[in-house]
Symmetry: C2
Subunit: 146 residues, 2 copies
DNA sequence: TCTTTTTGTCAAATTATTTGACAAAGATAT
DNA sequence: ATATCTTTGTCAAATAATTTGACAAAAAGA
């Protein structure tokens, strides 16, 4: 029963990965032309060290693009789709904060993975633990302090 | 109180994003020379459509690189570090399966985010819900079926 | 219809990446 | 110590990928 390397957990939750315009487009299904126009209009941002160098986009921006596209497909105008998406700001960072607070990840010898999600607010002696079987079925259980 | 676009949740959990060698190196702190050598030795893989085209690495490979590097820094040889890391295989996919089974994500008007993590295995009427405040403090609670 | 918004296409210029060869450092065995 | 194998660094030429801006064209709004 071995504990997972901390770096991996952090990288997984932090996700400060940068991707190219091409990859952003491929992952979201939004065309490069659209992405560049949206950036020109100020709806999304990219990182570019110097002119002519390639643009880098964060996962956060990926989420914004997915959000805008989601509402675009529902018939909203671009600016309305942006506003709709903007009303959900903070959700992904909230998910990240949930995932990054995972206290312990263990892999048992039989391949089962135990993820300690932390204490219950109103029963601090009890931890919520996810048991994930080798075929990736998840069960949530309560476990007493150990 | 608006529900989060499904695409975003899925993309977040799925993470079938591809990154460049440069980005893999920047994110992990492992040099491009190392990464290419490890690939030559068969410890990691990359996607290359045709010769001379750029290599793409998945987030899964990013995790493997972090794992190998973790044990390398502890003094293991490269092959031993790989084996150590390999013994943890399945952990990240397990985490992914945990995150992707999230049933509902809501953002309340006051900015609080509610994440329904699903039912307790032994009390199926109760759901584990994470309440995440606007300053990203997380509280786990049990809620009855609604 | 006229105008504005939004997206597509293209080519030249620039930047980024691959590839392979070789050097060099580090580890291991004799 | 010496020789050998493993591992990483450096470099330059070839190739690929990206940016940029201009313009067209489609879509939406007035």
């Amino acid at each position: 029963m071995e504990e997972l390397a901390k770096e991996g957990r952090e990288a997984f939750a932090k996700m400060d990965i940068k991707i190219s315009l091409k990859e952003l487009s491929a992952t979201t299904g939004v065309s490069p032309s659209q992405i560049r126009y949206w950036e020109k209009k100020g709806y999304i941002k990219s990182i570019q060290q110097q002119k002519n160098q390639s643009h880098a986009y964060t996962i956060h921006t990926l989420m914004i693009v997915l959000g805008i596209n989601h509402f675009l497909k529902q018939g909203y105008t671009l600016s309305a789709a942006y506003e709709k998406q903007h009303a959900q700001r903070g959700v992904y960072r909230a998910l990240r904060s949930l995932y990054s607070r995972v206290e312990k990840v263990e892999r048992k010898d039989d391949g089962e993975v135990l993820v300690d999600l932390g204490r219950l607010a109103d029963q601090p002696a009890k931890h919520v633990v996810a048991q994930i079987s080798p075929d990736y079925q998840v069960q949530l259980t309560l476990k007493d302090e150990n």
